[in-house]
Amino acid sequence: MSAILDVVDLHHRYPLPRDGIFAQRQYVQAVEGLSFALEEGKILGIVGESGSGKSTLARLLVALETPQRGEVRFRGERISGLREARLRPFRRQIQMIFQDPFGSLDPRMRIGASIAEPLGVAEPGLDVAGRRRRIVAMLERVGLGEGAMMRYPHQFSGGQRQRIAIARALITHPKLLVADEPVSALDVSVQAQILNLLLDLKLEFGLSLVFISHDLGIVRYLSDRVIVMQHGKVVEEGESEALFSRPAAAYTKTLIAAMPRL
């Protein structure tokens, strides 16, 4: 049993705008004392209401933010708090998909260039033809054609953009993928397609997945283990089936009771 991701006593807070220059600085404690681990090849679901600190956690996991306290370890090595240059070797192995597919692609950059960006950093030796082959193959794998390369994000639907974001995240063959509500912004009809694509790619690429959602149904369907978050803390953690059939914490029970039944 080996963990790809270890989270130890993670804390993070954001400063609030000051009332006046002499006022004491106030903070929002977004993440408060999280500890957990993700086993290689598994899917860890994270649920919680809006504002419970899920996105903050996601950004901490991929080292986009430096925790106020605690640490994040990738295959045993600390990645939190590293300088950008020291972080670079980890970047290609740890990727993220954002909730809003309209914000995560640069509106001024063609899709081909967007997907080429991580590849150029990870494999600078690759020639133009080789790079193009890789991008086309990846685009086809997520259900888009070569024709997408020369187009801009606004020419695609939300679902297609999320496919592009997935292609971009996986082009460097990462080992860990953090998906922050990847289908919340999409039409229900498209959600299942994207989720199945993610599941297929997880097997194909041998990914370990942190899957964040406020939709308990999706998390139950996907996850091996689940963490329930509230106010930046872990309320309950367990194997997915056990947690959903026999929730222990009162908060988990309310969440489950509020689930729309089929």
Partner: protein, 274 residues
Amino acid sequence: MRRALRHPSFLIGASLSAVIVFIALVSLVWTPHDPGQMRILSRLKPPDASFWLGTDQFGRDIASMLMVGARNALLVGLVAVGIGFTFGSVLGMLAARFEGSLLDDVVMRALDFVFAFPAVLTAILILTLFGPGLVNAVLAIGLFNIPVFARQARGATLQVMTRDFIRAARLAGCGTASILVRHVVPNILGLMIVQASTQFALAILAEAGLSYLGIGTQPPNPSWGRMLNDAQTFLARAPLLAIFPGMAIALSVLAFNLLGDGLRDIIDPRLKER
């Protein structure tokens, strides 16, 4: 693009600016007469077939002087705005990228300092200290353009930096320089160009003002501002002498302001769209 063609201030501003640029370019290869040539016998002549807009007190052809004056005004605008745009954008972007750092503080305080001085008075002071002339005038106008562009660039960069595609770029392994060049610049360029257009109009006005005061463009280079000053003495006998350069200045300022306004309206909705 289609929206641009339906936008009245953009249309008027762009066409007027194009005409002015065209006239300035033509003056490089052709003017009706040599703009510097004096003709004792044809002083202060009203417009006719040969001298379309008449002659001044030295018998020089007004039309030719206005054409070369256009070239002078555009050159001043281009260089002064170029200085402000380049230095201002770079400083503003760096200040934004390192928001709250010492660099940000120093840059912003330095810019406040420049801002605190009344631009025209300080330009006069600078030109009095370092000597009058076109080059110093352009440098002074450029200097006052730096904070304008820096503020705009800083604000726009701060806004762009909060977006997820910047995070995605960091995850891709891009460093600060490549994020600024590849993602921030293309996304703030539209706004900066709008600002440039407005500042261009102001720069033309500033040069005209300084030259009118005699500390800007020096003879024999024609400048609309100096033509205006020369005309003052003969205002009663030949009012057209003042009207023509005055109109040239007013029209150019109007043209580039309208162009800027139009561009702003055209670019803005696209910036708001997520």
